[in-house]
Point group: C2
Chain length 149, copies 2
DNA sequence: ATCAATCCCGACCTTTTTTGTCCTAATTTC
DNA sequence: GAAATTAGGACAAAAAAGGTCGGGATTGAT
């Protein structure tokens, strides 16, 4: 269905939240869960995945929590996506050929892989800093209106 | 998981097959199912969906079957995708706001919708005729090699 | 040293989605 | 009328996603 998973949504909210937190502050999973009404254990796993991927730093113990390992400006949608769901694949046959009953007779594998490749590059263009800017978006709309007129 | 569904894969194979069939010939679901080892009833539904979307024409009865309603050159990936799965949506909250527990506190809705919009336009650029051309793809690879060197 | 807050992570359950099957029409050709 | 075919509803099975639970490890505070 080509839909963003809840886990990716949670991850995006978390990253955005930490971007807007005070410099050097630690955000806890519980705090995020409460703020965004996300099941805490599930959010925990998402944050762990982001940690393993090097997007977040984590600190154990009381006064611990998470913070961005790098500024959000250096992140793109795809980073969060792949951190949480693993490598982006439009089809499964790439890694598990025998999981597909049509593998031997498939007529679309190559072109689809081609598309996957292009899409992956395109996804690399969505910068997370765009999630920050509400004002610029309004400007953008006005620009669009102008070009449409 | 952002993966193409089996049904879309089947739809693509079917369209490609009919593109390569003789002009005006009718292809039956059973024939396609046998050729590509696809469960016949399921393929049937996919073809029906493509029919409803105006991508295929169908003919009942013996000697019936399916054929392209328009040349494949005029089709893009997105046409098949949306014919089979309905409108492309990265998130569900657009059509069913109350299906999302985070709706009221969501911090990413607008930017995600923005991305969805861009992605949709980008998907409109994948022409199905690219599925036909194996030779051009080889040339393309060589070009890439040249520019990389 | 203990305790509470916190991250880590595996096991598991539940719900939703996807995939596949079955069966019964309706339509067309012969 | 019989055979081949599309149309489509109902449902079962499998897979994926979403969510819960519980135990362990680490850290800071008392």
């Amino acid at each position: 269905m080509l839909r963003l998973s809840k886990r990716v949504e949670y991850g995006l909210m978390a990253v955005l939240h930490m971007d807007q937190a005070d410099e050097g502050a630690w955000t806890t999973a519980a705090e995020l869960a409460a703020t965004y009404q996300i099941p805490a254990e599930l959010l925990g796993k998402v944050l762990q995945a982001l940690g393993r991927a090097g997007i977040l730093k984590s600190a154990h113990g009381a006064k611990g929590g998470y913070q961005l390992a790098r500024p959000m400006d250096e992140l793109v949608l795809c980073d969060v996506l792949e951190a949480i769901e693993g490598p982006f694949r439009l089809v499964r046959c790439q890694e598990e050929p025998h999981s597909c009953d049509q593998y031997e007779v498939c007529s679309i594998r190559e072109p689809v892989l081609d598309i996957q490749q292009q899409l992956l590059e395109y996804l690399g263009g969505f910068e997370l800093k765009a999630f920050r800017l509400k004002k610029r978006k309004i400007n953008k709309r006005q620009e669009n209106l102008c070009t449409t007129n």
